[in-house]
């Protein structure tokens, strides 16, 4: 904690921690149906019919177990935090089971909870001014919270869903609880924006993967605790992104159009250029001017037609997709026009290390193109720093 070297006596230290914990509020939310589809072979539980099917197939409430594990590391702070939660299955039951005396936000819940309940609960947590919202669920839950509160609330996911593609989840429920405790004790104060990915379940069941980058949630920044980067702590992701942006901008040439894909790392490049940009979309830049924002495929093709163009990409999501997840606007036609040699790949090292030597992936929908695109790429990882990394196709 505050003991940088040594110094404060144990008593003084305890007193300081106690004072710091005064009035700390922890929001605690469980999506009770999350994860029920996983064990019975469904791809998720978004939608009432699927949930019914899951229950028929014998699905057991799984989120409850996971949420329970996450609360354990917080028990020692019981007297020092105020737990704010939603009624019955959405948090209250587990909290009481452990002896918390929670503040329960009033709400009428049906016998089966829905995404509307999640969204309403997240909004209520924002109104309650909780310091941290700890939620148990999957990508769908993260998406609902994201749509309700955006990045205005610090959140942290307890992995309890079938789909965990988003970067907002801790690597393990216990880790989520531990990280929440550290954050509330102010040992961890930095936050970062992490990706909320949304894979369409309907299509996934038909074996079509269509993921998109839905948005960002603000989470405590300790990489070793997080799902998407089990890579140990290597410093601040924000500084890495700024260093990458400096490198890319220094090398920009007036002769090329630059098509900038979605992501926080690519968005740091736009920030360095001082340009308005879309975090989740594709933007076009020429000579440091914005030629188009949040372009769709047709707009891109029209604008870059006949112009030498470079494409700046960063891997999206926990599986490391360079193309085909979250940036489908960059279609095979767009890539063919730009050419493989004009692709610039950027990524923080933290993110690369989270893939544990697995290749980055492309899945453009055109298998011949995917094959052409695979191979080794030079990936810019910092100022005057690059790595050589393999890209494969599915």
């Amino acid at each position: 904690m505050g003991r940088y070297v040594a110094g404060l006596s144990e008593e003084a230290e305890k007193g300081r921690v106690k004072r710091a914990l005064k009035r700390k509020k922890l929001g605690f939310l469980v999506n009770p149906i999350a994860g029920m589809g996983g064990r019975v072979g469904l791809k998720g539980t978004d939608g009432r019919e699927i949930l019914q099917k899951a229950i028929e197939l014998g699905a057991q409430p799984w989120a409850k177990e996971r949420a329970r594990e996450a609360l354990k590391p917080l028990l020692r702070l019981m007297d020092e935090i105020e737990l704010v939660t939603y009624p019955s299955l959405m948090g209250e039951d587990i909290a009481r089971e452990y002896g918390f005396i929670p503040k329960v936000i009033e709400a009428d819940l049906g016998d089966v909870t829905t995404e509307k309940d999640t969204k309403r609960a997240a909004k209520a947590m924002l109104d309650e001014k909780v310091d941290l919202l700890l939620f148990a669920g999957g990508d769908g839950t993260a998406r609902d919270i994201c749509s309700a509160v955006g990045t205005s609330l610090v959140c942290l996911g307890i992995p309890a869903g079938v789909k965990i593609h988003s970067g907002v989840f801790a690597s393990h429920p216990v880790r989520a609880g531990e990280l929440a405790a550290l954050y509330l004790q102010k040992s961890v104060q930095r936050t970062m924006e992490a990706e909320v990915m949304d894979v369409n379940e309907e299509e996934l069941r038909r074996e079509i993967v269509s993921a998109r980058l839905y948005g960002y949630l603000r989470i405590p920044n300790v990489e070793r605790f997080l799902q998407r980067t089990k890579a140990g702590s290597t410093g601040n992701e924000k500084y890495s992104q700024e260093a990458i942006a400096a490198e890319v901008v220094e090398d920009m040439s007036d002769e090329f159009y630059y098509l900038v894909g979605p992501g926080t790392t690519t968005s740091a490049i736009m920030q360095r250029l001082g340009l308005d940009h879309s975090l989740l979309g594709v933007d076009l830049v020429w000579q440091s001017d914005l030629l188009g924002k949040d372009l769709n495929e047709a707009q891109i093709l029209k604008k870059i037609s006949g112009k030498p163009t470079k494409l700046i990409l960063t891997p999206i999501g926990g599986q490391g997709f360079l193309l085909g997840r979250g940036n489908q606007q960059i279609s095979p036609e767009v890539i063919n026009q730009i050419g493989k040699d004009n692709i610039i790949v950027v990524s923080t090292k933290q993110k690369i290390h989270s893939f544990h030597s697995r290749s980055l992936l492309v899945d453009t929908g055109d298998s011949a193109l995917d094959q052409t695109l695979s191979g080794h790429y030079r990936i810019i990882t910092g100022f005057r720093e690059a790595i050589i990394y393999k890209v494969s196709f599915l």
Binding site: Y4, A6, V222, H353, S357, A386, I388
Partner: protein, 539 residues
């Protein structure tokens, strides 16, 4: 045959026979470390308290030399007195003795858990040489004629290392591995500059499992650093190297075996690809302990290499102090070396200050002599065969430990598609963490309760939940078994009572250290002044 000298060098002989027998050991479950609740020395500050009272200088001397301060240029004189703690001699002594009991030093614990560090026995007899006035009382400014013995030791150790590596000349000036790497990069840079390619060749290639100083030293010299990642076999990818080299390549800095313990058997192909692109190749031999007398830098076609005398050659590790990165180069690059070099004309040892392309100095004088002397004595006690035996026993010990660790639930070697390792292994607790939530850091904390150290700081965690074990040749089978018993007990606890491991240690000095402030520029403080400043800011 029993060889008392070899025994004193830290190899336990007849190792093959011993390995097959059951050893007698006891896991120290009642271990408890001293806990002094010692303040930081700055907190012991008492104004006016003194360790040494220096008498006033006599009038006569004062008149002759002046006040000693006015000869220092005005702008170099500090305006205020340094804020050093004022503490008496006896309190200082106690303070540091207490602190020394807070550590798990190399001479206390079975220090095999610091993989990549090559923690071996530093024979105590060698201390009597370095503490002898013949070594301790000489000064680097002395005339060559009066230090012929010291120069002879340096020259001869150079020739030993030439034989071990196949290089043509060595210097001991670099004060550690990172300094030796800096010299390698400096030579590479100077070489290209003199060929008129200094500007164009602005990239250094290295690998993620090489020594991190390879990348750092290159960056310090202004190079763009291109890092290669391993393939599924844990080896740096040849295809990636081919993609990396170009007319911009200045050189390759690489460790082999890398920190995974995997030997890159395609290393000749690597040096060839880089040479063909016009680059030079520097071999980081920080992991040389399993290769002594077996493979050489020359045969792998490296232009230069270095050894850590404080790792492979038994001198103790120094925390930036008495270490030595012994740097060797091929004939073609001798002119680029730091000066001076020790030469011998058949009669007399001398210092050569005349190297036309020298990169200059990386440190004063010609090296850390005590480290050189210890390494010399160690090699002399072993002989050529003994050195090879060091490597063989280090590999044998590693194989033994590796087999035992692979039998532990939840533990595995990284990159299992390559089963063989040299002198160390980068393992992973990934399975154990998934099964139990217990992380490598938790296990590290628990092992402290048995008096062991396990080092998990292998950032970046390309291998998840990593730990590395490097048993070297020094530890007895009983000690290896004791350490393994500690690991086994901890693993069993992780599965049966994970909280026990997660709340550890119980028997150590500081029970839990929160590492997060070390990651946060707003919070970290490595000096007392920074601590006070940031603490004030935080209130």
């Amino acid at each position: 045959m029993w060889n008392p000298l070899r025994e004193s060098s830290g190899i336990v002989c007849e190792r093959e026979k011993i390995m097959k027998k059951n050893s007698t050991f006891r896991l120290r479950e009642k271990f408890h470390q001293a806990k002094w609740d010692e303040p930081v020395i700055f907190e012991m500050h008492t104004p006016g308290e003194r360790g040494v009272l220096i008498p006033e200088v006599e009038q006569e001397i004062q008149e002759a030399v002046g006040d000693g301060i006015s000869s220092i240029p005005e702008n170099m004189r500090r305006k205020s007195k340094p804020a050093l703690p004022e503490v008496s001699q006896m309190r200082v002594l106690k303070h540091f003795l207490r602190l020394s009991q807070h550590t798990l030093g190399a001479d206390f614990n079975i220090d095999i858990g610091q993989g990549t560090c090559t923690m071996k026995y530093s024979p105590k007899i060698n201390e009597s040489f370095v503490r002898s006035p013949k070594a301790a009382a000489i000064h680097p400014c002395q005339d060559e004629d009066t230090v012929q013995g010291a120069l002879e030791v340096m020259y001869k150790l150079g020739t030993f290392l030439q034989e071990i590596s196949g290089m043509d000349k060595f210097t001991f000036q670099p004060g550690g591995g990172a300094a030796a790497i800096l010299v390698m990069v400096s030579i590479i840079q100077k070489y290209h500059e003199l060929r008129g390619e200094g500007q164009e060749r602005d990239e250094i290639i290295t690998t993620i499992f090489s020594h991190p100083s390879d990348a750092a030293a290159a960056a310090v010299k202004g190079y763009k650093v291109i890092t290669l990642y391993p393939d599924e076999y844990g080896l740096p990818d040849i295809a990636a190297l081919k993609k990396a080299v170009s007319e911009r390549t200045a050189g390759l800095l690489i460790t082999n075996p890398e920190d995974t313990g995997i030997f890159n058997n395609k290393i000749q192909e690597f040096t060839k690809i880089v040479h063909n692109a016009g680059g030079l190749c520097g071999y980081d031999q920080a992991n040389a302990n399993g290769l002594l007398g077996i493979t050489r830098a020359r045969e792998a076609d490296f232009d230069m290499c270095f050894f850590n005398l404080h790792k492979s050659f038994s001198s103790p590790h120094g925390c930036g102090g008495p270490a030595t990165g012994a740097l060797g180069v091929r004939e073609k690059f001798i002119d680029y070396m730091p000066m001076p070099l020790v030469e011998f004309d058949g009669k007399k040892y001398s210092l050569n200050h005349n190297l036309p392309h020298s990169i200059g100095k990386v440190r004063g004088y010609y090296g850390v002599f005590p480290a050189v002397l210890r390494a010399y004595a160690w090699i002399m006690s072993l002989g050529a065969e003994g050195l090879r035996e060091v490597a063989e026993v280090a590999v044998l010990n590693n194989n033994y430990v590796m087999k035992k660790i692979q039998e532990l639930k939840g533990a595995a070697i990284s990159y299992p598609k390559t089963p063989g390792r040299i002198e160390q292994v980068r393992y992973t607790w990934e399975k154990l963490t998934e099964d139990t939530g217990v992380s490598t850091e938790d296990i590290t904390n628990r092992l402290v309760d048995f008096g062991f150290h396990l080092w998990s700081s292998h950032h970046p965690w390309v291998v998840p939940q990593p730990f590395s074990i490097e048993p070297t040749e020094s530890y007895s089978k009983a000690e290896l078994d004791e350490y393994l018993a500690g690991l086994e007990k901890t693993v069993n606890e992780a599965y049966e009572d994970p909280d026990k491991v997660k709340n550890a240690p119980y028997q150590s000095v500081v029970h839990k250290i929160d590492h997060h402030p070390l990651d946060d520029p707003e919070k970290w403080a490595v000096t007392w002044r920074a601590y006070l400043k940031k603490q004030k800011k935080g209130e």
